[in-house]
């Protein structure tokens, strides 16, 4: 991580307590607050909701689709099972107004 000029754990620390959306290899998504991670990118997420993509009515894509979600609480997702990790941002995702050190992001 020399190229970015920051220590890797400092960068990871900035993700702690942030809300992540993690997509697993079976296409489910888990949205929760990052509590802990390690070298293998195993994640512990708190206050997690599970979202499942509907397998039918794909012709509706392009419109908003209601995902069925359910509350799971504290979960562990293994790094090997993770397809994608996304960070929740406020303000539409654009601009440089990302509050890196800010707290209080809610699910």
């Amino acid at each position: 991580m020399e190229s970015t000029g920051v220590l890797p754990d400092a960068l990871l620390h900035s993700f702690i307590t942030k809300t992540l959306r993690v997509t697993t290899n079976d296409t489910r998504m888990f949205v929760g607050e990052l509590k802990c991670t390690d070298r293998d990118a195993n994640l512990i997420l708190a206050r997690t909701h599970e979202y499942r993509l509907p397998k039918f009515k794909l012709e509706d894509a392009g419109r908003k689709v209601d995902l069925t979600s359910r509350y799971l609480g504290l979960v562990v997702v293994m790094g090997v099972d993770i397809r994608r990790i996304e960070l929740e941002e406020f303000g539409g995702g654009g601009g440089s107004s990302v509050a890196v050190g800010g707290d209080g992001m809610e699910v």
Binding site: M1, T4, V6, P8, D9, L11, L12, H13, S14, F15, I16, T17, T23, T24, N25, D26, M29, F30, L34, K35, C36, T37, D38, R39, D40, A41, I44, A46, Y51, R52, L53, K55, F56, A61, K64, V65, L67, S69, Y71, L72, G73, L74, V75, V76, V77, M78, G79, D81, R83, R84, I85, E86, L87, E88, G91, G92, G93, V98, V100, G101
Partner: protein, 767 residues
């Protein structure tokens, strides 16, 4: 986060530029679940690279998060933990629910649902039972808030044209049954949540955020079920009469069951309960059971995938119908039986009922034990219409009969702080409040499961011990206020100390229960039996002495011709009847305690003899000693002021009795069993009134018979053992401790010769 450097902020900003949000198949869903002001940015690459910079075993974590908490996390993709995981090859699309055509199948589903419901009553979670039914899931999945919405949402089918009997079967008959059943679950859950029970231990109240038709009234559901019954009865339903009868019985049971579960205490006091109706209908359900055809395909574990659950998936639990039928029948009978407490007939009777009812094997269901707590005390009212203070003072009077002046209703009217009456009233008020709380807690505790009862009693005795000391002080003040005359007792001049005497008596009983429950719950190992019975015998002897003292002080009342009588209001003067009652109660309690003490003494000698002969062995205790175990057993009693815990060395000598010969010891044990038997026989001859068993005579007598069986069983063991010693055949003797066939508080060793088949247990004594 505080130590993040400014350079890091820059880095993050740069990264942000390079890592544009990736447009993917998920974009359509991005804004669905989150507030519109937030979005997600793909950080997969960044995250993974950063992780690779960590050392093996290095963790990056929230400082407030402990690894201890992490133990409770659900592991996603682990089939044992992740209820949302699909099995290989399993499809996620909800499969179509099988729609039965035959009424037999509907009967089958109803009976399976009853099995599921009773599995829930028996301790499994809704996610393992009722919720696994696809019809229940279908009905609840749209979260109905009105009765019209509480219906099945099934795809049209050729065999189920609207209006056809097959269609009506599902959409009228099964729907009404399911709606009724869900509402029954809601009522049960509410009742159990209202009182103290142990979640996950007695019962699982978790509903996974699914509303159990909370907003639909029982009255509406009533009508729905009635119209379903009418349909089954009508000519439009083309089924034979026995099928109609089976369907109607199930629907009608659901209706009545729901009515009973929805009653409040007020209605129960007014005697409007009709559990008998439920019991009658249950018998019809039992008779028509064979008409049903099971449809296992309408139950599926896949439903758990949708439930908001913070616990790992759990397997489906569906007990066999016969078992479910027993549970529901027992529930109805027990729920009917506990209504007896509403016919109040004295505090001691009430206590006997609670003790006998909750000691029943198998224990009454969680629902019934919760309802019993509500009946006893809710909204500051006891038994639906009484003040708890009234019951408390009756309990005191029934045993100790304190001086009349304490209960003079005129005390309350006095408002002059210097007036004696006022001062007496203040102290009695204190007693009712302070002891009233402990008294209510005791009743509630008796309603808990047996292990919790034992555990909680260990805490309660500390409170009763403190209460005893506080009451002694109040008793001292009261004896001055009423100018009590001291009485000569055991060569000492003494006062009655009525209130603290009553408290002490209850405290001693609770201490006995703790050890007795240790036997019932099989806490003790056989080599500890002798010691634990010694303690029981010690507590019982203390209680006997205390009862003798109480008997001495039972207030004889004031002769009506004495000048004092004129100064009292009539209703507060203890009648000759009251005095006789209190004396009878004390005598009865003395006899009962004496009988128990004899049996305990016999057990001490018997088990000590067995230990001496090497027939009950101490297992190897590599990390423990007898002294340490003794300390552990005595832990609940260490803080109790009176009676004292005996030092271990003394205890050992007292139990082992090294000076007494084994044969002599067995002779003494034999004497004890004979005495005990005599006392229990006397108790059996007493009427329900004088035994204070008016509310539970059957259970009370059964309990006495079990004591007698233990007495007889111990007698037989003593004879066998003495014979073996005399004939020098101890080496051929085998001992097996029988926990099941005798009183649970008095397991009896079964002595048999290795050469001969063991003797059968003592047959039940005459009914």
């Amino acid at each position: 986060m505080a130590n993040n450097s400014g350079g890091f902020n820059d880095a993050f900003a740069r990264l942000h530029v390079s890592e544009k949000p990736v447009e993917g198949p998920q974009t359509t869903t991005t804004t669905v679940s989150s507030p519109s002001s937030t979005s997600f940015r793909d950080v997969t690459q960044l995250f993974r690279q950063a992780c690779q910079g960590l050392d093996v075993g290095q963790l990056v974590k929230d400082p407030n998060f402990t690894l201890f908490e992490a133990v409770g996390a659900l592991e996603i993709m682990d089939p044992k933990m992740d209820s949302g995981l699909l099995k290989p090859g399993e499809d996620d699309t909800p499969s179509e629910i099988y729609q039965p055509v035959l009424p037999e199948e509907i009967i089958g589903i109803m009976d399976q649902l009853l099995s599921s419901e009773m599995s829930w009553h028996d301790g499994a979670a809704l996610s393992q039972t009722v919720f696994t039914c696809l019809y229940i899931d279908n009905l609840l999945s749209l979260n109905p808030s009105r009765l019209e919405e509480a219906k099945f949402n099934l795809p049209p089918s050729e065999t189920h044209q609207p209006g056809s009997p097959a269609y009506q079967l599902i959409h009228v008959v099964l729907r009404a049954y399911c709606v009724g059943l869900i509402k029954c679950c809601e009522r049960v859950n509410l009742q159990i949540l209202a009182e103290h029970t142990y979640e996950e231990e007695d019962f699982v109240t978790q509903t996974y955020n699914v509303s159990l038709l909370d907003f639909i009234t029982a009255a509406e559901i009533h009508k729905l079920i009635v119209s379903a019954i009418e349909y089954v009865d009508s000519a439009a339903a083309p089924w034979p009469n026995n099928i109609k009868m089976a369907l109607k019985a199930r629907l009608a049971f659901r209706k009545l069951f729901l009515t009973e579960l929805s009653r409040d205490v007020k209605e129960m006091v007014e005697k409007r309960s009709n559990w008998d109706g439920c019991i009658t209908l249950l018998s019809t359900i039992g008779i028509t059971r064979n008409l049903g055809t099971a449809v296992p395909s309408v139950f599926s574990i896949a439903v758990q995938r949708k439930l908001a659950s913070t616990v790992p998936p759990r397997p489906i639990v569906q007990i066999p119908f016969e078992e479910a039928f027993t549970i529901v029948s027992r529930l109805c009978k027990d729920a009917k039986e506990i209504l007896r407490v509403l016919t109040y007939s004295g505090a001691t009777n009430l206590m006997t009922f609670f003790l006998r009812f909750t000691a029943r094997k198998p224990q009454p269901s969680t629902y019934v034990r919760s309802l019993l707590q509500t009946l006893f005390f809710s909204n500051h009212i006891a038994l639906g219409r009484m003040q708890i203070g009234h019951i408390l003072l009756e309990d005191v009077k029934e045993l100790c009969l304190p001086a009349d002046d304490l209960f003079d209703p005129r005390n309350e009217l006095s408002e002059m702080p210097s007036d004696t009456r006022f001062q007496i009233h203040q102290r009695m008020k204190w007693f009712v409040e302070r002891a009233g709380n402990s008294y209510i807690t005791l009743y509630r505790t008796i309603c808990q499961n047996r292990s919790r009862l034992r555990r909680n009693l260990c805490h309660l005795i500390v409170d009763w011990d403190a209460l005893q000391i506080e009451c002694e002080e109040i008793d001292g003040e009261l004896q001055q206020l009423i100018k009590e005359e001291p009485v000569l007792h055991n060569d000492n001049i003494s006062y009655a100390f009525s209130l603290s005497s009553w408290v002490y008596h209850y405290k001693l009983r609770q201490m006995e229960w703790i050890i007795f429950l240790g036997f019932e719950l099989e806490v003790y190992l056989p080599h500890e039996f002798a010691g634990m019975y010694w303690y029981l015998q010690y507590f019982l002897r203390t209680r006997l002495q205390h009862l003798e003292r109480i008997r001495h002080f039972v207030h004889p009342g004031v002769a009506s011709d004495s000048p004092l009588a004129a100064t009292r209001s009539k209703e507060c003067i203890a009648s000759a009847q009251d005095v006789a009652n209190a004396q009878a109660t004390v005598n009865f309690t003395l006899l009962e305690a004496a009988a128990l003490q004899e049996l305990c003494s016999a057990m001490i000698f018997l088990y000590t003899a067995l230990a001496r002969l090497g027939l009950v062995k101490t297992p190897p205790q590599p990390y423990s000693t007898d002294a340490m175990r003794y300390e552990l057993r005595m832990k609940p009693f260490l803080t109790i002021g009176c009676p004292d815990v005996v030092p271990f060395e003394d205890f050992k000598t007292l139990v082992d009795n090294p000076d007494i010969d084994t044969l002599e010891m067995l002779d003494m044990a034999s004497e004890n069993t004979k005495e005990g038997r005599k006392n229990f026989d006397l108790l059996s001859k007493m009427s329900a009134t004088s035994s204070h068993a008016l509310l539970c005579e059957e259970g009370y007598r059964l309990n006495l018979r079990e004591y007698l069986r233990s007495c007889i069983g111990a007698g037989v063991a003593i004879v066998m053992l003495s014979k073996a010693i005399k004939m020098n055949t101890v080496a051929d003797v085998e001992v097996e401790i029988d926990q099941g066939s005798y009183h649970p508080w008095f397991p009896v060793p079964r002595i048999s010769s290795k050469k001969r088949p063991p003797l059968p247990a003592v047959p039940p004594t005459g009914r």
